[in-house]
């Protein structure tokens, strides 16, 4: 709403300069976008809240100004000259749907002269950003901007039988509106019709029809000034996708009492600028007349909500200026500042949204000034808690960052086609019914989709080394229910180690990914022999069949890890190897928590450890895990660790074989181990590896 500074002066004796006024308006609840000095003086761009339809006109803003500056608001009382002929004989109005149209007033002016508007009127419209058309049309716009109430003018002679019928739209009914568009109507809409009610001449409160429009040949004018139900208007505008100045005002709740006054103001201006004779009286059908509500406000409640007092005089002055007519009704009347003070107020017709005591408290506070309520920090009454998984997540984040992963944050909206690439079979994705585009039509059903996009972005922007993680959610449907699952997603590509002064470059490999995941797995282990995650063959089909695996803890599946399958990488135009992992966080967090609970100190060994290396020649396909299991099956408690230190195929190793160097550490908690004992253990290890796995011992 553009507020023309000089226009306000028609209603209040305003002396504050425009900038200061704008700032005071902003601090009392009328948000101000900007103040501009134009050819017609200052114009304040006011962003009127949807709860304040009364401020969609200069008169309403002037009322705010009067309340802020304690100025008198000039009354609008008009007595345009009327002819002897009566309006009631010239026009009939019938409201068939009073639930949609609470009031309909009609005035008729004969023998007007349609012509361009005078300069002052054009100037004010221009300052308000409204184009000038002709005097009568301009006047209806002017009155709307002045009093905040929308009106409509008809060419009286084109209204059939000089009769208006207000009714609900019929199914499949249509109308050609003023803007020349033919519109399909909906049965909940309020239609203005003429004659026997069969022809629609306007959509009530939204836009008039083309057939009864004012033209330069119009002689006689019918002024409609009505009141329409706001919810029905909002429903209709949404259905029609048509928002007009009128629909904004009626849709937020116009003042039904203003309808007759705005009509009179319109008639007065037409007589003044277009001549003609105004028929006596007004046809006023008012089925929706309301009894003004009484609302009480007490000092006790003001104190309870606001935490500081407001003087009686301020309360009364503000409420009076805003039209609430406060009256003290408590037994302590006359005692200023009484804690028992109660005021009874009357809801003005232009403030339908003020219904409760809290609404009045807000009015009192905003005019008094919010800065007058002293800020204080309330004392906490109870301990605060973090999210249940906060500690586990913090540990996980420390690990990831130490391992060199950078966190990403992504928008979960992805293309269906991308999601389908990574979506597990049988999963129902959460599709949007009204996406902004196909590219963002579904919520990711796995974090891999957006992780792949982040790697892709970096590769396309010259960043070929990236190690990324996201702690986020994936979204799925189960029947009619949504399912949001917390997941950790890892993505890595490029060099695990970049070339530097001291080291050579090395490409990221599956072993890097596995090592990183096992470092996370340490968080769920306990004791010196903590194993962390259990790894199993397999995984999803978008992973490289030979370079992938599944992780679990205590039989609970956690997720998958591996290199992206080449065919998928080709499809995504990723020209280098890319690695992914995804883990379900609720299970991981639970395991981290459980490990923390069960973790106990183990006394450090007092006797020295002895390492023995075994260089084994094994047939391909025998896993390290099998070797470990066999050695463990000997149940030698002095074996404290079994590690692998070298793995070799090729030169000096026969085809189909692999050379594996393992290191076994022996240590006793009771005594220093003797050579004889160790040799005995070594013999047992060699023997079981030979028997079970056909291992040949090589000289190491």
């Amino acid at each position: 709403m553009k507020v023309v500074y000089n226009w306000l002066k028609d209603f209040v004796d305003l002396t504050a300069p425009p900038q200061e006024l704008a700032s005071r308006l902003a601090l009392s609840g009328t948000n101000v976008g900007s103040v501009e000095n134009g050819p017609h003086g200052a114009v304040i761009d006011a962003e009127v809240g949807s709860n304040r339809p009364d401020c969609l006109g200069h008169y309403g803003i002037a009322r705010e100004v009067a309340a802020i500056y304690k100025l008198a608001l000039k009354h609008v009382s008009l007595k345009p000259a009327e002819s002897a002929a009566k309006a009631g004989d010239a026009i009939k109005v019938e409201i068939q749907s009073p639930e949609l149209c609470g009031r309909f007033t009609a005035r008729v002016i004969r023998n007007v002269k349609i012509q361009p508007s005078p300069k002052w009127l054009k100037d004010r419209l221009e300052a308000s950003g409204v184009a000038s058309i002709s005097n009568v049309v301009d006047i209806s716009n002017y009155v709307m901007l002045e009093l905040g109430h929308a009106l409509h003018t008809f060419d009286y002679d084109k209204v059939r039988d000089h009769k208006i019928v207000v009714r609900k739209a019929k199914p499949s009914e249509k109308i050609r509106t003023l803007d020349g568009v033919e519109r399909q109507l909906d049965s909940g809409m309020c239609m203005i019709c003429d004659g026997d009610g069969s022809r629609t001449v306007g959509i009530g409160g939204i836009m008039g029809g083309a057939e009864t429009e004012i033209s330069f040949s119009t002689k006689n004018v019918l002024i409609e000034c009505a009141w329409f139900d706001p919810i029905a208007i909002r429903r209709a505008t949404r259905f029609l996708k048509l928002h007009t100045e009128a629909s904004t005002r009626f849709g937020r709740g116009a003042d039904p009492e203003m309808a007759e006054l705005a009509s009179r103001r319109c008639a007065e201006l037409i007589l003044q600028l277009a001549g003609g004779e105004l028929l006596a009286g007004v046809v006023d059908v008012y089925p929706g007349k309301r009894v003004p509500k009484k609302i009480r406000v007490t000092r006790a409640e003001i104190l309870r909500v606001m935490g500081a007092d407001v003087p009686d005089k301020q309360i009364e002055a503000s409420l009076t200026a805003l039209g609430f007519a406060p009256v003290r009704i408590d037994h302590n009347r006359g005692a200023e500042g009484s804690l028992l003070a109660t005021w009874e107020c009357t809801q003005p017709s232009w403030r339908a949204e003020v219904e409760r005591e809290i609404d009045l408290i807000e009015e009192i506070a905003r005019i008094y000034g919010l800065e007058k309520f002293p800020p204080r920090l309330p004392a906490a009454r109870q301990g605060a808690s973090r999210l249940p998984h906060h500690e586990a997540e913090t540990r996980l984040r420390e690990r990831l960052i130490g391992l060199g992963y950078r966190e990403i944050v992504t928008i979960p909206h992805v293309a269906e086609e991308r999601d389908a690439l990574f979506r597990p079979a049988g999963v129902l994705p959460a599709r949007l019914s009204n996406p902004l585009s196909e590219e963002a039509g579904v919520l990711k059903s796995t974090g891999i989709v957006t992780m792949a996009a982040a790697l892709e972005w970096n590769l396309n922007h010259g960043q070929r080394n990236a190690r990324l993680f996201e702690i986020g959610r994936h979204y799925r449907l189960e029947g009619n229910q949504s399912l949001e699952t917390r997941v950790l997603t890892l993505g890595a590509t490029g060099e695990a180690r970049e070339k530097g002064l001291y080291d050579s470059a090395r490409e990221f490999s599956f072993a890097d990914l596995k090592g990183d995941l096992d470092a996370i797995g340490q968080l769920v282990g306990s004791g010196h022999d903590a194993r962390g995650f259990d790894w199993h063959d397999g995984g999803t089909d978008w992973l490289h069949a030979a370079k992938r695996g599944k992780m679990s803890i205590a039989k609970t599946e956690l997720g998958v890890a591996g290199q992206l399958a080449r065919r998928v990488a080709d499809r995504l135009k990723l020209r280098q190897d890319v690695f992914f992992a995804e883990l379900e966080l609720d299970a991981l967090y639970a395991a981290i928590k459980a490990a923390k609970t069960s973790r106990r100190y183990e006394p450090l060994p007092r006797f020295p450890a002895v390492e023995r290396d075994f260089s084994l020649l094994l047939a391909d396909g025998i896993t390290f895990a099998q070797i470990v299991e066999s050695i463990r099956s000997l149940n030698i408690p002095e074996i404290t660790s079994i590690e692998t230190v070298d793995l070799f195929r090729g030169k000096n190793v026969p085809a189909g074989k692999v050379s594996l160097l393992i290191r076994v550490t022996f240590q006793s908690r009771e005594a220093t181990l003797m050579d004889a004992q160790i040799n005995h253990f070594v013999g047992k290890v060699i023997s079981i590896l030979e028997h079970r796995h056909g291992a040949q011992l090589r000289a190491s």
């Binding site: 309870r304 909500v305 920090l377 928008i411």
Partner: protein
């Protein structure tokens, strides 16, 4: 007169020294000789020691020199003790002893000084050779980083945690009841027009529509449903509005919701809490103001402004003209908030006559953009490594 070289192999008597003056002279001669030797550089000492056949197996000339003079078996001082002191007449022993002690102390002091001098020189040479070039990089270990949005979340959580706010989380896919109705936003309320909403495509006949929450406020309702007052929570999370993306709009962004409800929470407690937060976050120098506003689920409602952190609230740009960030206003709108509307308590079975409270919802992306001077919200979600590296 015999040279000192072989003089110490003889007795003083053999050298013709019979009185105190002779003793003083011959000791002065020995001392002068030592002074000449100790003043030589390392190479000079080495040559001298080679001549004397005194270079030790350690091949360190300085040690050899020391041994030549102080060596227990055949050092000069040992010879003097044996040949001069012990084999002199008793009348001269006192004088010789005194001279001997002075000489010994002189030699020890000088040798110690020499050693120190040489060590320092050696060290200096080594330092020059080993000096690291501080402009060269060290060994770089890859280190990760938290996303800037996460860093800001963490900071906000910590501030509110310190004044008794617990952290809770909620679903992003919500029902219209929690996102709108229970927040006093019935269908066809004009506010719904400002929150263009994504809906989930559900199978035919689904009982409840599902939508992507347009704010974190649904967690106000979910929290109060579960818990009786006192309530103090903040809710970090993602929210969604169906806006076309540009430099300041993203259809997904982040909020932190706050809610405090108790039997005695007033507007003053509300403004005090918000001011505390913002001074922790932006610094104590920042000015604040509350402007009356409108939200269906708070009353009184406010918009919260801080003095422009770019122009210090003056509204003027450093190079003249108007500050582009606050458009000359000197204030920047931060977020909306207010006292919880009593109607909301009706939805969660709280007694609106007995409890009161406040709520706020702040946009995290916007706070981060203001604080770090980021002019395009999209960079948060592109996750370019060059962006991520800027916020280690």
């Amino acid at each position: 007169m015999p040279t000192v070289d072989n003089a110490t192999a003889k007795t003083l008597n053999e050298l013709g020294v019979n009185d105190a003056q002779g003793v003083a002279e011959i000791f002065a001669e020995v001392r002068a000789r030592f002074d000449r030797q100790v003043a030589l550089d390392t190479d000079g000492i080495r040559n001298l020691m080679l001549q004397q056949a005194w270079l030790g197996s350690d091949r360190d000339p300085v040690t050899s020199l020391r041994n030549f003079w102080l060596g227990r078996k055949a050092g000069v001082l040992t010879l003097i003790t044996e040949n001069w002191l012990k084999r002199s007449p008793p009348s001269l022993k006192g004088v010789i002893g005194k001279q001997f002690n002075e000489l010994k102390s002189h030699i020890e002091t000088k040798l110690a000084e020499q050693r120190k001098r040489i060590e320092e020189k050696t060290e200096a040479a080594a330092l020059t050779r080993e000096q690291v070039d501080l402009s060269l990089p060290g060994v770089i270990h890859p280190i990760g980083s938290h996303h800037l949005i996460r860093q800001v979340f963490q900071e906000i959580e910590d501030i509110f945690f310190s004044i008794g706010f617990s952290v809770v989380e909620g679903p992003e896919i919500e029902t219209p009841y929690y996102n709108f109705e229970a927040l006093n936003i019935p269908e066809f309320h004009p506010v719904r027009d400002d929150m263009d909403t994504f809906y989930i495509d559900l199978p035919e006949g689904a009982p409840t529509p599902l939508l992507l929450r347009t704010h974190t406020s649904p967690m106000q309702i979910r929290t109060m449903e579960k818990q009786k007052p006192p309530v103090r929570v903040i809710v970090p999370g993602k929210v969604y509005r169906r806006d076309n993306p540009d430099a300041t709009h993203s259809f997904m962004f982040h909020q932190v919701e706050g809610l405090a409800v108790d039997t005695d929470i007033t507007f003053c407690d509300f403004t005090g809490t918000i001011e505390y937060f913002v001074k922790q976050f932006f610094g104590a120098g920042v000015k604040t103001r509350f402007r009356p506003s409108y939200f269906p689920f708070t009353e009184p409602s406010v918009e919260f402004d801080v003095s422009c952190i770019f122009c210090g609230g003056s509204g003027a740009a450093a190079g003249g003209g108007v500050c582009s960030k606050c458009k000359g206003a000197g204030w920047i709108e931060l977020f909306g908030a207010g006292m919880v509307d009593p109607a909301v308590y009706g939805f969660v079975n709280y007694d609106a006559k007995k409890v009161s409270g406040f709520a706020f919802g702040m946009g995290i992306d916007r706070l981060a953009m203001l604080r770090y001077g980021i002019d395009d919200i999209q960079v948060f979600f592109q996750n370019d490594v060059r962006f991520l590296k800027q916020f280690p």
